[in-house]
Each structure stands twice: as C-alpha cells, then as structure tokens.
Point group: C2
Chain length 204, copies 2
DNA sequence: CTGTTAGGAGTACGCCGTACGCCTACGTGA
DNA sequence: TCACGTAGGCGTACGGCGTACTCCTAACAG
C-alpha cells in the first residue's frame, strides 16, 4: 500500500561513483551526490542510513563487475588464477579514485564470495590442501590488495623512483640500481611479475 | 637571533599518535592534537603546513622504529627476510589505528629506504637478479602492505568467517570448508604462511 | 637596546554529516 | 470513494572540521 520508491540504491551508488570519478574521492559528499541526482541533500537519507552505507554501495557496485565464475579454459591452473586476478584488478582499476574505499569496506562484499569460491577450486586443483589452502587464498588476496593500492598511490616509475635513483650510490648501491631498472618496468609487468612469484611458490 | 622553537615536529607526531591510539583515527583533528599539547589550535600551524603534513609525521614516527639493518645472523636468507618483514609488521601493528595513514603517506618514508636496501641485498643473496629483483621487492612490499591491512580491518577468524561458514554448502563447498579451517589459524600463522609461499616462489 | 621571530589566543569562514520538521503526492484496503 | 500510511521533497539548524587572519607578548642575537 505504500508509495513505490523512485530510486534504487544502485542508482545512488552510480551517482556517487560519477562524483568520485569526476572530482576525486575528496569531492564525495552527501551534498555532491544529492546534486548529482538533482534532489535535496536530505533526500539521500531515505535510501541510506549514513555516508558509510553509501560508500559501501559504491564498493559493491565497483566489484559487481567482476566475473566470479572460473574461466572456461583448459589452460593450466596458474593461467586461470591469473585470469581471475586480472578480472578483479581490471574492475578496481576502472575507478582508481575509489580504491581507498574498496579497502575500507571489504565487509559487505557478496560478489567476492563467489570469486573466492572459484579461486579455492583452482587452488585445490593446484594441489593445495587443508589449512594451506586458506592461507594461500588470503595470501593471494593480500598481494592483490597491496599491489593494487601501491599501483594507484604512486607508481613504480613515478616521482618516487627519481628520488631513489638519486640516492648516494655508496650507501645505497642496490637501491640505485633498482631505481635504474625500475624505469623499464611498466605497471602490468610489475603486477603480474609479482603474482607469478607467488604462484610459483604455491605449487610443484 | 630569533626566538628558539619550543617544540619539535616529532613532539607533534607523538601527540598526534597519542590521540590516535586513544580515540582512534576518527578522533584525530587539529583541535584534538592542540589540546593534547596544551596549546591553541592554530599554534600547530607554526610547525606544520596542514593536517596532511602532520599525518606524514605520524607515519614517519611509526616507521622510524623499524630497524633497517640486515640481521646479523648466518641463518639462510629466507629466515633473514622473514626477520626484516617481522620488524616492519611489529612496528606498524603497535599502532593499529594508524594503519590507514601508513598506506596513504608512503611517499616521505626515508626510513624505509634503508630497509629496502637491506632487503635488496638479501634478494641478491637469494640469487634474484636484474629486473626480477625490483619486481620481487615490490611484490614483497605489496604482500606485506596488503596482509597488514587485511589483518587490521577485520581478521580472518572474526565476524566475517562466521558468515562464510554459514554459506549454502551446495553452492559454496570450498568456502564452507575454508571457513571451518580458518578458525584454527591465528593471524601470525596466516601472515607468515603467506609470506612463506611468496619466498618459496623466489628462489631455489 | 633593538630587531626579529616564535608563542599564544581568538575570531571567522566555508565546508561537512546529519537530526528534525513540514507539507505534498501517491497507491491501496476499507 | 476516501482515508491512511508511506515516500518525496525542501529547508533549517547544530556541532565539528580545516584553516586564514589579526593582535599582542616573550625571548633571544647583534
């Protein structure tokens, strides 16, 4: 008998994401999102309890684009894990300004449950069993989460590297060389290079 | 000839850290830090340009407690890398509420340069050469950064695990088992278990 | 002594999240 | 048909934030 809702939570999330993509995370405010939707600020509170919940919706929307099903290939498990990881990375990277949110609101991530389920299946296929399998999954997620963040909060070949390659060569011989090497490595090679190290540690 | 400063930047950082440890990151404000130091709010601006700089000082203070020198042991390189990583983790974990800051202010981290230098030395000893060495270091940092964050934003054996082990067992067979297994794994075993996977992938 | 600079306090502005109240529009069960 | 319950929409208000600015005093170096 009540009057039907005129917006969905997903529409709120879309508006918030539009604000974030345009004005950065610092530009996200209840007032800005309301303006984006052409409604009054307080109207938002009909759909979310507070800003925190809105941020959760944004994260949900970003991660909902991750395909959680195991790749339909007969490629080796390592390649299939890489495909799964690449999907996650691509979805998150599509909205770099929202990356910090993704970390803070890991809780309500129903979409990632299915992703994790597929991942555990691949790990089982790789011969990882028992407690080791849980540890392997969490470790993998840790790597992915950390790498994505580092990637979007100052790249390897960015300003930091310049400072590094200017370090006194006598006290920082390794760093100086690393700084030189780093210039030739793009973000993709770095990310999947590190992933390959981890996967090599996993199995036979 | 000028009047001498009565506070150091490190004292500001200490006061800010005290506020964070007591009231959480949300409790950190210029007003709160000023009160902690018994001075007026605007007095802080004699020592820092803005809040961002203050946060940087806090991170610097937390990470300054990391011993960057290579461990003086003749243990295998894997063990020595683990020692280096453990130092970093211990320092960060001493102020869990400040963890999000640590991620955001990675730039100005002179202390970690020496830590990285030592780490690169150990990687060289492990036989990792050339570009692979840079990738290995960044990958290691990614894992550590990600794992520390996951650890402090909802633990493996926390509320999330309960939800997981309640998933429909037919559609999430792996997750259900993982949820059961996870209860027996504490944060330490999880962290160093994942690290061990990565290190196994590095060498011989 | 004098000039320079730090110290300290206070005020004010423009943001923020959000509590609250008011009146209107709608769709349904009576 | 109509009254009721809920959503819509708008505006105001409060307390907190970062920080720009001003004014006066205190301490040291030449």
């Amino acid at each position: 008998m009540p009057r039907p809702r005129s917006l969905t939570q997903d529409q709120l999330a879309a508006a918030a994401l539009a604000v974030i993509d345009r004005d950065g995370l610092a530009g996200l405010s209840m007032r800005a999102v309301a303006k984006e939707l052409g409604m009054s600020t307080m109207g938002l509170y009909r759909y979310v309890a507070d800003r925190d919940e809105l941020e959760g919706l944004v994260v949900e929307r970003v991660l909902s684009t991750v395909d959680p099903s195991p790749p339909a290939t007969d490629a080796p498990w390592r390649d299939r894990i890489e495909i799964m990881v690449r999907r996650l990375r691509d979805s998150v990277s599509a909205h770099p300004a929202a990356v910090p949110l993704t970390m803070t609101h890991r809780h309500r991530l129903p979409g990632l449950l299915r992703w994790s389920e597929s991942m555990l299946g691949l790990l089982a296929e790789a011969g990882v069993e028992g407690e080791q399998r849980v540890v392997a999954l969490r470790g993998l997620i840790s790597y992915v989460v950390g790498a994505i963040q580092l990637e979007h909060l100052g790249s390897l070949s960015g300003a930091g590297t310049v400072t590094i390659s200017e370090l006194p060569r006598d006290r920082f011989p390794y760093m100086a060389e690393a700084g030189r090497q780093a210039r030739g490595i793009d973000a993709d090679r770095e990310f999947f290079g590190g992933l390959a190290v981890y996967l090599r540690g996993l199995g036979g």
